[in-house]
Amino acid sequence: MTRKQRRMTIIGGSLAVLALAAALVLNALRDSIVFFSTPTMVAEKHVEPGKRFRLGGLVQPGSLQRGDNLAVTFEVADGNAKLPVAYKGILPDLFREGQGVVAEGALDGNGVFKADTVLAKHDETYMPKEVADALKKQGHWKDDYDAKASDTKASGESKPAATTAQGNPQGAMR
């Protein structure tokens, strides 16, 4: 082999691996990405049943019902719309009515959001980032959240505590 041929072999090999990686990434992007929606966005866009997404909003006060064997139902609201959520399992430590929540799952045929993961990432004053941004965008950001947030910031308390149920990809503590 000449020097040039050797070099071409190595470059060819590199391109092959890169092409393989690109193909894998494009393939994975098609069906493994999960989008974030609020109840309003779900109502507007007509998400089809079975399509996985992340639902974020506030837990509607008074909507939490516990059934047998750890089954729970509650409603997620964002001011304009509400969406019923069903979940089976242990809710995270910081799950409260009236507070921010992010759930991952899909709609069933009856328009109920079947969640397999529920994340509550906040302390008493902290909102999950996605939820806070979405609420602000829709103009439903209540001033008292901001007041509380800046209040805690001033006193230095700005660390979110993260508690989640079942394999939260963002609550991992390392």
Partner: protein, 660 residues
Amino acid sequence: MIAESGHYALVLALALALIQSIVPLVGARLQDAALMNVARSTALAQLLFVGASFTALVMLHVNSDFSVANVYENSHSMKPLLYKITGVWGNHEGSMLLWVAILALFGGLVAAFGNNLPLSLRAHVLAVQAWVASAFYLFILVTSNPFLRIATPPIEGRDLNPVLQDIGLAVHPPMLYLGYVGFSISFSFAIAALLEGRIDAAWARWVRPWTLVAWIFLTLGIAMGSYWAYYELGWGGWWFWDPVENASLMPWLAGTALLHSALVMEKRNALKVWTILLSILTFSLSLLGTFLVRSGVITSVHAFATDPTRGVFILLILCLFIGGSLLLFAGRATSLKQGGLFAPISREGALVLNNLLLTVACAVVLFGTLYPLAMEMLADFKMSVGAPFYNLTFSPLFALLLLAVPFGPMLAWKRGDLLGVAQRLLAAGVAGLVVVAIVWGWARGGSALAPLAIGLGVFVIAGAVTDIVERTGLVRLPFASVLHRARGLPRSAWGTAFAHAGLGVALIGIVCETTWNSEYIATMKQNDVAHVAGYDLKLDGLFQRQGPNYREMIAEFKVSRDGEPLTVMAPSKRSFTTRGSSTTEAALLTSGASQLYVSLGDATAEGAIAVRIYHKPLVLLIWWGPVLMAFGGVLSLSDRRLRVGAPKPARARQRLQPAE
């Protein structure tokens, strides 16, 4: 006084770093040995002052001096002493101080033990090291001063985030930072080589041990963090593809590639330009990790910083160093001489393939980490890229890499014989296939992927064993000469075998845990019995207990197997009054490499409690693997030490030994 002294020491360290950034370079231009030697003294003095500054912060935390904002926000007088100390780096400011302290430590080590380095190379390396240090001292002093006082000191502190009140905090961040920051040395060496326009095999010989040290710590740090997440968070997960985890995985992947390419450079004087680039990229990824974690771009427990000025500051540092070093690389790289020809099928070729797969896998992780951020900024919609994405992209690439791992060390340098190696690996391959068949039969169908992956893990382990067997002549030769050859084998050959076997061990653990993990979630009342994977767990009762700075509710389970009582497991739930938050303390029962895992959910009004019980087969292999890898690294390092900085031919005795 202590706070002010700590602050002052940090300012002095900055001044020293600024001197160290400039004077040695001037000295190198003027060929002035005295000016170049300034770097040595300033590096050591920097270490002294940063050390003093860090000690000051530790003392403030230990004394619970709540007039200092950092102590007030992260400590509590009732907190156990260990957590008072570890709480120093359990917050943004303190952890940045730890970062620069470790940076100064590495600089000091180069200064103290770099006597055999050429004078101008040492001057350049320490100067580059000082650029990085100056940037981060400035960052701390301007945006994140840990020594700020409060005008009216409160009586009690706000306590540390309860999740962090664990022995894991004592080990994980320092280890991880030793790894992250350790790569700054190879970065500094790379920039120094570019500035000097000179690079040779001796350069690689100096860089390798430093890279290896950083890599060992990073490996252990990542494994430790994973185990911590596993037992502390209460749902038994050990890797979440969280951006913050990716931030530590990326330097590890690039650093692993760097270790291997530096080997080619040292032994064969080839791949020089690539090794330089990898050194730059590895530390750039460490900086990127610091940015992702510290800027608050990503909301997670790790993101202590919510102040945007900090993010912008670190982003500036990031752009300056990554952009600057890559520009320098682009300008100077062509002037470095290429050397060492090799055929595609050869040890060098195998190491190139290793580098290719590792860097591409790293690029995939980088893409998955930054893509959601980019889409949010550009297209204004939110998404998450999680485990499914990485399973489809990272895993196939890594499987390819693992398939190639046993071949690499057995190929000859320059021109290898793939067929010959395949024949020698036949036994390992057969072992792998037999295991595939056995597991397949035992699992009765199911996914074909798990048995195949376990077979791959066995192949990697058997391949590592084969390599040692071949080198020592076990089976072929009489036992006495095998023993002699085993003793004469370079330590790094043993290191390679252990590290590679560690990969296989970890893979087997990962596959077994994810495939055959059994779980039981339910509400249990007193005397209820749960059956999980052959174990019976009877809830004996719930107890309350008062800890130093928390109250805890303990549930006691009598564990038995086939009617035989084994032990009592006592998971608990702690609630910390100061922060009004709670943590879950899981109880673990280890048998072999498998674990039974019990954690608690909420108690209901009727005295029942939600319980999560997992049986995780061979889960401990996931962490034994990295420990094996790190052990291999230590073995290699002990070999290196004999030859570090001694670019003369090895001693006569070693000439008789088989080649590495």
